[in-house]
Subunit: 429 residues, 2 copies
Amino acid sequence: MKGIGVGVIGLGTVGAGVVKLLTTLREPLATRLGFTPELVRACDVRAQRGAELGLRAEQFTTSVAELLGTPGLEVVVELIGGIEPARTIMLTALRAGKHVVTANKALLALHGAELFATAQEMGVSLRCDASVAGGIPILNVLDGCLTANHVPSLYGIINGTTNFILTRMTEGNDTLARALADAQRLGFAEANPTLDLNGHDAAHKLTVLAMLMYGQQVAFDAVYCEGIEEISPTDIRHAAELGYALKLLAVAKCVPGDQPRLELRVHPTLVPAESPLASVRREYNAIFLTGDAVGNQMFYGKGAGELPTASAVMADILLIGRQLTPARTFYRSRPYPVTPMPEVTCQYYLRFSTVDQPGVLGTLCTTLSRHGISILSCMQKEHQETRDYVHIVIMTHAAREGSVRAALAEIDQLELVRHPARLLRIERV
Amino acid sequence: MKGIGVGVIGLGTVGAGVVKLLTTLREPLATRLGFTPELVRACDVRAQRGAELGLRAEQFTTSVAELLGTPGLEVVVELIGGIEPARTIMLTALRAGKHVVTANKALLALHGAELFATAQEMGVSLRCDASVAGGIPILNVLDGCLTANHVPSLYGIINGTTNFILTRMTEGNDTLARALADAQRLGFAEANPTLDLNGHDAAHKLTVLAMLMYGQQVAFDAVYCEGIEEISPTDIRHAAELGYALKLLAVAKCVPGDQPRLELRVHPTLVPAESPLASVRREYNAIFLTGDAVGNQMFYGKGAGELPTASAVMADILLIGRQLTPARTFYRSRPYPVTPMPEVTCQYYLRFSTVDQPGVLGTLCTTLSRHGISILSCMQKEHQETRDYVHIVIMTHAAREGSVRAALAEIDQLELVRHPARLLRIERV
């Protein structure tokens, strides 16, 4: 029975899960696959970590160099996260002819081009299914099962922390601060949740998705990113009254034309209450995509956690074990450019806070119209005595983001406006 | 650039889709994969079919033997369906050392053991992603992405025809006959819908799923199968009032124990209205599964149609092209036995039609209790003047199917009963 030598660098939550699966699955996998993945070495900066996880002394080291020199090592699993030293370690491993498996979305988003090129040059695999949506095999599905499809659009709930928070704010009418505290207490948010709240984590993942889906380099800076820090329960309530749910969506679109273009963006988004994405609750993730051959598909599951993510890492190790991916040509010959956000066309939810006097609604409508924005529906809430302003919510037909921004800038200057307008985008998934 | 020689046998709807994808994707795939799938020959009994699909004369034949002898042929795609001559053709192709791709669930359900054994013996691949749930890559996901998972339970809506019909009956309050006529008019049901309505098509697919998921032979006869022929709008309405939706589910469970056992069954099933499966409407398919590492996952998409199914066939051709599947050990060393239906434990919805007189409910409850069946809830509908009976609906706690059947047999003999009791199973997906 052939053994596949695996080394794991970084024994945090996911690393511990991988060690667990490598140990418990050795025998069952042997009978089904005809080979066994073998943990030849694991590495962590904490000297006692190996013993904590039940590893034998010769299976553990605190030195990455020592791990990379272990005889029989074929697959290196990088799970330390962050940019450095992860980048240098992965490049060193690839250049030494090792296959690499990683869950590091930030590194791939920023340095994916260099890493994939190095893997291709060395004729080894670089697999990263665990980097997006944890246990949902979206990257391997796009790569292996939907290869015959062009994907004109993909909508993803790919950050469990923010989805948990938005679920709490929607169902429990909680403030962002209370919902976040809840998420932290239950282990669905880290002590420092900045990269989740500001959308950067989802944008990292969207970058990786787009690279693999469209087979081209994607600059992280080209991905539009807006977080949920400014979301208030008021907007969520208004949205619900109108039949929409609020989700932090990662959106990838390939807009056809003489020169097809990509839209890549992460932002709070209203989706119809009856959309399958609206019912994705709490820490769950989901990806809704349209393939030109398969039509609409949705993949739903846990986007994080010890064993879901470790399962994705194992899948990649086993795919390499089966020699599923001899050096493939990674990049398309003619990459698509990315559409800048002002040129994106979308429907909008706009909330204005204005004085309660005749002519206000007319002024708003005229201004929007002058910018080429046409109105789908309008709702003016009753004046509350405790406030010196009223809420007017306007839903628009599809309009250019640049035009909408220009119209709002103009409206925000008006005397009748009490607070800057609130903008949310609508996707009819 | 290496070309992979592909031959397609059977140019019906799906075959035509495969020819289309092979033609249009040749160039884009070449740049991404480093090889091109090439249609070397196609075969159909209708002599004019090649010309209809734009094939050159030398690419088409009406003779299977001629197709199998085509120089450069590496992958045979079998799309004629049915048992014979499909079985003989596939065995001949495998024995000639060709890889085989098929969408033929009936053949795999009845003769999968023989076919997979022949493929393994010859060291070639037999891939069948298109045989279950069309464009949803469930078999390839189970095989390639969830290999590190044991799957204790899987619930599938894997027959689009019946799901379309049940959706119409639920939302339009249609009778089965009217809903079926609609499905036929819209192309979601065949002229002879027997295998869909009686659940056999779903049972064929469940057999294939179970074989691949658990890595063992599964006898088609061991799969319990009940169709939707007896479903009435009344039951759907009652279920809705109780907060449930009615779906034809394929259920696979691996029940743990000293000797783990499989439950494999296809039957009309109530699922909670808030279940993700309840919102799978019309011709769509979905599979909800639990992996011991990944937790809950759901895969949703189109389960039939020219291009969705052809996309799955293409995925298999391309996986073979990448040499993803060198002869793997297909069978587990210790197969699980299948639990006979009477030993399955489930919750039930029971509807009784009885005379309207004191003591009836007590008699029903006592009888159920004597068989060890405990009651979760009970609803007696008001007596309608036009009928000489009333409806009593009882929802049970988990009970053995055998006990429930025995209790119902006893109750159906009672004088107070006007019509045989109606039984539906509940799965809290």
